[in-house]
């Protein structure tokens, strides 16, 4: 493995309330290499979401260091963090977070808007990504007209449109049924096989089973870090699921 893509050193995150403070992360040190498919697991309150937000540059640590692809993220300004989120990271959220009353292709274009991609380049790139997730013919549908699985695929197209180095997925299957979850995980596995680094937060063991490395969180510490020799294949699971259903 070459230089790790993600390096965190002694990350501490404290939330200060009025009368007390909560420590969500207590000295988190991790390395994630380029091309890994990592699932972060843990019960609620374990700090996995906080960790995810820090990785996604949506929040900054109270102390400790974080570098992403060589950039010392913990030292960057708000605008520089916005640029990193824009160009290096693709987000997939549990509740999709698509703009309502805005067509799929326009949703996918959104990150390009903030990286000053010329208007004429935006549309073809967005349409290309939609085709990759199998939604070419739904490009002009609004989110309300799409199923949950389709909405999440639009969100993945949006995450990919600016060629990021990292996909962060926060409970991406939380709002989906089993079959659609398999479809979605299949898509993420497919991306990972293409070289994309994927970090996934979930509390479901069978979702984590698709990852090649599973990290367990508890009370702000890493309690478990295992590589999976042979992760489950979502495509195979989907075919079996359909067989049983039929």
């Amino acid at each position: 493995m070459s230089d790790p893509l993600i390096v965190t050193r002694d990350i501490v995150k404290e939330y200060r309330m009025e009368s007390y403070s909560v420590t969500a992360l207590r000295g988190m040190s991790l390395e994630i290499g380029s091309g890994e498919f990592v699932a972060v697991m843990g019960p609620s309150g374990s700090g996995k979401s906080t960790f995810m937000n820090l990785l996604g540059c949506l929040d900054s640590p109270t102390s400790g260091h974080y570098s992403l692809a060589g950039d010392k993220v913990s030292e960057l300004s708000g605008d520089e963090l916005a640029a990193i989120r824009n160009r290096r990271i693709g987000f997939v959220f549990q509740n999709f977070n698509l703009l309502p009353r805005t067509s799929a292709v326009e949703n996918v274009e959104l990150p390009l808007l903030y990286s000053h991609v010329p208007k004429n380049d935006r549309r073809p790139r967005a349409l290309g990504r939609l085709a990759e997730v199998g939604l070419a013919e739904r490009a002009h549908h609004h989110p309300q007209q799409l199923s949950g699985g389709q909405q999440q695929r639009v969100a993945i197209a949006r995450a990919l449109v600016n060629n990021p180095v990292l996909i962060l997925a926060d409970e991406p299957t939380g709002a989906l049924d089993t079959r659609t979850s398999y479809e979605l995980m299949g898509l993420l596995q497919q991306l990972n096989r293409g070289g994309m680094t994927v970090v996934l937060v979930t509390h479901e063991r069978d979702v984590a089973a698709f990852a090649s490395r599973v990290i367990g969180f508890r009370d702000g510490h890493v309690v478990d870090d295992q590589r999976v020799a042979r992760p489950a294949d979502a495509g195979e699971m989907l075919r079996e699921f359909d067989k049983v259903a039929a």
């Binding site: 916005a82 977070n97 959104l110 903030y114």
Partner: protein, 410 residues
């Protein structure tokens, strides 16, 4: 992100909630329309006053003889016969800044034409009078030099007199009698309307000054060549005050008045009265505009209110935009552009309503209105400024949200 893209995003956001956007705009629409209409009405009033001033001769100074004091009773301006025709010619000759100095004799009398008669004022004038008073002959012709030297019995009728004596018939060539002296009507005067005091300026007969003196008024005035007044028109752009001073010293010299003695004449400058009147109508316009601006301000507060609601409602959208790479200033400009777009569209609709309103007032109330491009420009830039001013606070509030908290907002 380009401004064009920002405007497109703003328009989309405004379209999503059409009713709310329209109601918010309504405040600006009414405000801008009110400002435009009020300024149009005010400017119309002002233009009317200005026109009246022009009708009287903007640069007009009227010279009257001084007052007579008899046994301690002062008789008032014009009671003395200290002013002569020659004074008028001297002013014309020696003060280059004077365009025209017109000596005038005034008299009243019954004018008879056939079976009709009419009591009116007649003036004996020289051709300079027409220049000094900005008056023109409507039909027929002016009296000529021969009439002036030979005391020709010719008269020009004001519109009121012509109508009273001849109705719709053509008065030219007809004979009228003034104080039993027969005159031939050679022309009629352009209608001039009322003066500022409400007097009908068309209720008048003009004749050569020599005719008035020698054939109608007669008496002692004839010997002294004295005149009732002199109308003096100052050239455009000259300082009235300086011309008055020059005239005063010229007349004091001609009348051999010692230093320390009172003038035996008086000068009246109508434009001062009118300037005061113009000033008051200008203040009226400003007042109307100020009142109308209050409604524009209220409209601006409406925008702020809606933008604050909108920022709260769209907190998750803001969080998402930040997550995919929007910087704080992108969010700021997005909401600012939205507020300004709201204000500008409202402003444009307000202009249309304001133009329509001004037109309606002109038609229905029969008021004079004057649409001024600068007022329209002012109202629109004021609307845009309101958009920026009242949009800034909500936009800044949006841009300062933390991405993670905005994303989690329920």
């Amino acid at each position: 992100m380009t401004w064009l893209a920002s405007i497109r995003i703003a328009l989309r956001a405004l379209r999503v909630n059409k009713l709310r956007s329209t109601l918010t705009m309504l405040g600006i629409i009414i405000g801008v329309a009110a400002v435009i209409t009020m300024i149009a009405v005010g400017a119309g009033a002002q233009a009317r006053v200005e026109e009246q001033i022009k009708g009287l001769g903007t640069n007009l100074i009227i010279l009257f003889p001084g007052s007579v004091t008899a046994g301690g009773v002062r008789m008032g301006a014009g009671s003395r016969s200290s002013l002569t025709e020659d004074d008028a010619y001297a002013i014309q000759r020696e003060i280059p800044r004077v365009q025209a100095a017109a000596p005038t004799l005034r008299g009243t009398g019954q004018v008879v034409a056939g079976s009709n008669n009419w009591s009116t004022v007649f003036y004996g004038v020289t051709p300079e009078y027409f220049e000094a008073r900005n008056w023109a002959v409507a039909t027929g012709k002016m009296f000529d030099a021969a009439d002036l030297t030979g005391s020709g019995k010719v008269a020009l009728l004001g519109e009121t007199v012509a109508r009273s004596l001849f109705g719709d018939a053509d008065p030219i060539g007809q004979v009228i009698r003034i104080r039993k002296v027969p005159f031939t009507v050679i022309g009629t005067l352009e209608p001039k309307g009322q003066n500022l005091m409400g007097q009908d300026q068309d209720d008048v007969v003009l004749m050569p000054i020599s005719t008035a003196r020698n054939r109608v008024l007669g008496g002692t005035q004839a010997k002294q060549r004295s005149v009732g007044s002199v109308s003096i028109k100052v050239r455009d752009g000259e300082d009235m005050k300086e011309v008055e001073d020059q005239m005063r010293s010229l007349l004091r010299q001609r009348h051999r008045i010692q230093a320390g003695q009172e003038d035996d004449f008086s000068l009246r400058n109508l434009s001062e009265v009118l300037a005061a009147r113009e000033e008051s109508s200008r203040i009226m316009t400003l007042l109307l505009a100020a009142i109308a601006s209050v409604s524009l301000l209220v409209g601006g507060i409406g925008i702020m209110n809606i933008m604050l609601v909108s920022v709260t409602e769209r907190t998750r959208e803001i969080g998402l935009r930040m997550a995919v790479g929007a910087r704080a200033r992108d969010i700021l400009s997005q909401f600012l552009v939205e507020a300004v777009t709201l204000a500008l569209i409202g402003g444009l609709l307000g202009i249309m309503l304001g133009l329509g309103g001004s037109f309606a007032i002109a038609q229905l109330a029969d008021w004079r209105v004057e649409l001024r491009p600068d007022a329209v420009l002012l109202a629109v830039s004021f609307a845009a400024a309101i958009g920026v001013f009242f949009g800034f606070y909500p936009a800044r509030k949006a841009s300062r949200l933390l991405p993670i908290e905005a994303l989690r907002y329920e």
